[in-house]
Symmetry: C2
């Protein structure tokens, strides 16, 4: 993909998630020489395809002699990933280079390490990739005491104190939203884009006050499309509001009276910010992509010399 | 499909649902001459394919002269079906032949009627097919006063009094279960078959007492697979229990202190019966397929002569 190698390349940071692959080529001062974002997420790859995928993207940039450290986080370390990297257990500081798993590669110019994920025995929970975003945020805000919320396919609420992840809880909200939009009967009702902020707020409040009714409220979206021509944008906002509302009801111990930082991007981070504002919680948004890189930088800085 | 026509064929009853097509060929005494169950559900067909699909199955059985009444119920009458049949509005007796929509066919040996569905303005809700099962049950038990529960892709709770559907409520429970099993991250955790009755009961009770946590409890199933080798059968029962539990919490006004009849089949009817028994509600199961035919028989018996 790149036609010549980069003279000052010192190391490579990789956030290899389920659906996206982000690669940063860095010099010894951590200046970004090149950045790639591709859709070759871990979900699309067999274990033996990871190395080739990486080489296709950055192989031409590798030096002819010697090897380059590659620090990875995310689904790349899952059971179905490149190689399984262990978890460290809560309560714990977000993983640094300690405990990283080195991968044997065919190409000796690569020196690949995968950072650990975090596990929690009870309630049973796991994260891979978000711990690096948390590390990135804490590298900028070292004495933060509060809650970090990471929206996504499996969104996470993490309680942070004394630079440790004390506890966390994942919700399948993002995945349920995508499945309902694309694969359920609601695909005939919900538009691909568009929004209705008022309908969203009403749905959040409704779901928070009566979470059990959500499977019925979802079907009502379909029925209102048929009976009263509910718009696709309003249907989209209502579906999102129902799902975010029940999540907020369950996650109340995480946000009530807490300082909340949302590590996210785009519409989804704003939607949670709006929903929390209705609960009189003023959450701040920081960009997830930057936090991933910050976390990888922090891990690399703390590597054994 | 059938090589010769049936001499005594008098009329044809059709339950044409989203995923299944059931056809009964009947004589003038309503004896079943032939029965077909196929997977040519309405979801797979364009409007112009319905007639050909039906002719392929039963065309050889039609008489050379004259025409045969075909009485249909279900998704065949939906917006995406053969032709849209109107809804009648609650409170109402389940639809009879009155209000049936006659379809213009290319083959004049067919005289096709689609029975109406039922709609409810608030909370907005619709049913197509279940109303015929309700009619079938009421034709056997005319003075029933209580609740009919119809599990399925979009399960329905219907309050019945004085031979009328007073109100009803649909839940997307069945569809969410199927999507979670097949399309979500839980596909790596949930077995295709197998069951754990104790895990199911615990999950139902858990979801009923704290319905909001369900999106987190779903992710815990995945985490426990990774961290403590949760079995696929137990994962399946827990997922089902979580979804049925939140439905029961919301549907409490329908079953609490009521006589409940489950119109269903197989494991799903038994699962709801088990869950309701834990709430000290002794629900009776009657076979859904028989109720559909009974409802179509009742509609045909009341046709204008």
């Amino acid at each position: 993909m790149m036609s010549e190698h980069l003279k000052n390349l010192s190391w490579i940071a990789v956030d290899w998630g389920t659906s996206k692959l982000r690669v940063w080529l860095l010099d010894s001062q951590n200046n970004i020489l090149f950045h790639i974002c591709s859709d070759h997420g871990a979900a699309r790859l067999n274990p033996e395809q990871f190395e080739d995928t990486l080489l296709e993207l950055i192989g031409d940039s590798l030096p002819a002699q010697g090897s380059v450290p590659v620090i990875c986080c995310g689904a790349v370390g899952a059971q179905q990933g490149w190689a399984e990297a262990p978890y460290i257990q809560t309560p714990c500081p977000p993983p640094s280079f300690d405990g990283a798993t080195q991968i044997r590669t065919k190409d000796h110019r690569l020196q690949v390490f995968i950072l650990p994920g975090i596990k929690q025995p009870s309630p049973a929970d796991v994260m891979r990739g978000e711990e690096t975003q948390i590390a990135g945020f804490l590298s900028e805000t070292p004495n933060f005491d509060g809650v970090i919320y990471l929206p996504g396919t499996h969104s996470k609420w993490a309680h942070i104190s004394a630079n440790e992840v004390v506890s966390f809880r994942s919700f399948m909200t993002g995945e349920l939203f995508a499945l309902a939009c694309k694969n359920s009967v609601l695909r005939h009702s919900v538009a691909d884009t568009g929004w209705d902020d008022e309908a969203f707020k009403v749905a959040v409040a409704d779901a928070m006050s009566r979470p059990s009714a959500f499977a019925a409220n979802l079907f009502s979206i379909r029925a209102e499309t048929l009976l009263s021509k509910l718009s696709g944008a309003t249907a989209r906002a209502r579906l999102s509001g129902q799902l975010i509302g029940i999540e907020l009801a369950a996650a109340r111990p995480y946000w009530l009276g807490q300082e909340v930082v949302i590590v996210g991007a785009n519409g989804i981070a704003t939607a949670y910010q709006t929903a929390l504002a209705e609960q009189v919680v003023q959450a701040r948004i920081v960009p997830a992509k930057d936090m991933s890189l910050n976390g990888l930088l922090a891990a690399y800085a703390n590597r054994p010399q």
